[in-house]
């Protein structure tokens, strides 16, 4: 099946070539970073985690969101999602690989990565995060291989894969819960020290992920003869709607607790994000954009007339994705460090090499998705000639 990713028309190879160029450029930047050190990023003594780890955090959510198609189809026999599950699983694979890459480029000593396996540390959430991510990757690789292989032979998948698929459902929830635990178990960081962080992560993951899945399905429909089916798209749109409502509700809960109790060490981080603190406020315009996009997307999604209109749906999905990316992929991580535990306000903005390396990882994820989706579509005979 893998060889199906190695054939394609001119557009396919142009797209692959474009991605490889981005990957090469970022790869060269990373080699420079490996030699000189992480000083070439915008990180500093106070803001030790930034763009890389924020992307990792966001993408774990996208990876977990495959469960939103797997659960209805396999647990509740919701047939309409039949053609979408493989897309969700392949998206999960690409996302997890991107997550691991973002961690890798953020490490000070990436050549020592195996120390995590040579010296396993059960009291560290980071250890469990790596274990759960690795396990989730293996699960999805196995599940997608077996189910797609069976589809190729026009056979039903073997019976033993069903419990493994069912395992992937709580496992998907666990990968994002553990990632939230990385943050929410730290007494040093009051901005993250909240029980609602894990539920918030899941809610935003289950909005952004399916939103992306809708967009990917519609892109595939345009460039191939893949047809997700009107019911599948509508149901996914409903899932995004409910998840986004819950997510916005959780955000409002956080805002209430912090602002009403008015404890400085909780309020100051929000002040930094939305207004600026001691001259540092580069995230404020983006935060307000995130709010506006969230509200607009909710209006479009809650109203069934706009939700069922494909043009409005596409706009709403993009709005959801961008809004949540700003929230998780920029704001959440950086704001935990500003102000610092000593009350200092540091400046953070990703540098050009940092962004190029990140772009290269995103390109590698797109490359993986391209290859995997190509295989899936070829197996189903849905490639437009």
């Amino acid at each position: 099946m893998l060889e199906k990713a190695l054939t394609g028309n001119r557009n396919y190879w142009l797209w692959v070539g474009f991605l490889l160029v981005i990957m090469g450029t970022g790869g060269a930047c990373w080699l420079w970073q490996y030699n000189v050190g992480l000083t070439i990023t915008g990180l500093s003594r106070d803001v030790v985690w930034g763009f890389y780890i924020a992307q990792f955090t966001f993408l774990v959510g996208v990876a977990a969101s495959a469960v939103m198609v797997v659960l209805p189809y396999y647990l509740h026999n919701y047939k309409a999602f039949g053609k979408m599950t493989i897309l969700g699983e392949f998206l999960a694979i690409a996302s997890v690989i991107m997550c691991m890459s973002f961690i890798f480029v953020d490490m000070g000593m990436p050549n020592r990565i195996f120390n995590v396996f040579l010296h396993p540390t059960p009291n560290s959430m980071m250890f469990w995060d790596i274990v759960s991510l690795g396990g989730y990757l293996l699960l999805n690789l196995l599940i997608s291989w077996v189910t797609l292989g069976a589809e190729r032979r026009d056979d039903p998948p073997p019976r033993w894969i069903k419990p493994i698929i069912l395992l992937s459902i709580p496992w998907a929830v666990s990968i994002h819960t553990v990632t939230a635990f990385l943050y929410s178990g730290l007494a040093a960081r009051p901005f993250w020290l909240t029980a609602i962080l894990a539920p918030r992560f899941l809610a935003s993951a289950f909005s952004a992920g399916p939103a992306l899945l809708i967009l990917l399905a519609l892109v595939l429909r345009k460039i191939s003869s893949f047809e997700p089916g009107k019911e599948a798209i509508e149901k996914l749109a409903e899932i995004v709607t409910y998840a986004m409502c819950i997510n916005v509700f959780f955000v409002l809960m956080e805002l209430f607790t912090a602002l009403y109790a008015d404890i400085p060490e909780h309020v100051h981080h929000l002040q930094f994000l939305f207004k600026g603190l001691e001259g540092e406020g580069n995230l404020a315009p983006l935060m307000w954009l995130s709010i506006i996009l969230a509200v607009v997307s909710l209006v479009l999604l809650i109203n069934p007339r706009t939700r069922r209109n494909e043009k409005f749906l596409i706009f709403a999905c993009v709005a959801v994705f961008v809004s949540l990316w700003i929230d998780k992929g920029l704001a959440m991580v950086v704001a935990g460090f500003v102000p610092s535990p000593l009350g200092h306000v540091a400046h953070y903005a990703p540098t050009a090499p940092e962004l190029l390396i990140s772009l290269a990882i995103y390109a590698s994820g797109l490359l993986i998705i391209t290859g995997l989706y190509k295989i899936a579509l070829e197996v189903r005979g849905e490639i437009k000639t």
């Binding site: 099946m1 000083t39 003594r45 000070g108 120390n115 293996l138 535990p341 000593l342």
Partner: protein, 258 residues
């Protein structure tokens, strides 16, 4: 499983998984290095430090400790503030003790420089989060130790420390070591986290920590909390002391006489 390409890939994948899993299980079973978190040590030695803020204010001697520590340990002086590395330094009183910040702080403490360093907490959050036990709390004497051979530079310990005690090597430190690196202590390389280790290498030779020795008027006192007759225990009996962010439950072992 047939001898096809797919069969080969299956077998290769299973083998890799088996090898990795076996190595990990073996390491987990041999996890005999002792706990990385020990709350409430009951051993013979528990090192602690007492800082006399008034003596520092009187003699204005903060720099002596800092220079001594940074010299003994080849700590670099990096002019770029983002990349700076410091094991012991001073913070304003209001920043070192945020719970004591208000409009009418006593004159003698307002914006007073306070020496801050790793507190070698009894319940350290940094050792709890380290994924490789490159930092751990020694059962023998309570020092929160660093293993620069094992550190993977993930900086999770820095994130977990409520005191900002730890520094990361964003670049190669060697060019920035004033006077050049000396042989009595290794430098660290770009990519690892470092912090005060209570001069464990000097304690092993029966010496006091460098910062303590540099004080001429007893501004810093170091000793064993488990010895009821030690100087630190006497000071703690006689003086009111505060610790940084004590409400977090980290049980810091650096006490400040106010």
């Amino acid at each position: 499983m047939d001898g096809s390409r797919r069969g080969f890939l299956w077998l290769a994948g299973l083998t890799a998984l088996g090898a990795a899993g076996a190595a990990s299980l073996k390491a987990l079973a041999q996890h005999a290095e002792g706990p990385s978190v020990t709350v409430g040590l009951q051993g013979e030695t528990r090192w602690a430090m007492v800082v006399d803020l008034d003596k520092f204010r009187l003699h204005k001697s903060w720099n002596r400790c800092i220079v001594a520590c940074h010299r003994v340990h080849n700590v670099p002086s990096i002019p770029i503030k983002d990349d700076e590395i410091k094991w012991i330094w001073t913070e304003e009183f209001e920043k070192a003790f945020p719970s004591e910040e208000h409009e009418y702080v006593a004159d003698r403490y307002r914006q007073l420089p306070v020496p801050v360093l790793c507190n070698h907490c009894n319940n350290p959050p940094c050792t709890r989060v380290c994924p490789t036990q490159a930092t751990w709390k020694r059962a023998s004497d309570g020092i929160v130790m660093m293993d620069w051979h094992r550190c993977i530079g993930c900086r999770y310990c820095i994130v977990a420390c409520p005191y900002g005690s730890r520094s990361f090597n964003w670049r190669d430190p060697r060019p920035y070591i004033e006077g050049g690196a000396h042989r009595d202590f290794p430098t660290r390389m770009r990519g690892v986290v470092e912090k005060c280790t209570f001069c464990e290498e000097r304690l092993a030779k029966g010496l006091k920590p460098a910062c303590v020795e540099a004080c001429e008027h007893g501004e810093l006192v170091f000793g064993n909390l488990e010895d009821p007759d030690s100087e630190v225990r006497q000071l703690l009996r006689e003086h009111f002391t505060i610790r940084r962010k004590a409400n977090l439950g980290t049980q810091p072992e650096v006490y400040y006489i106010v």
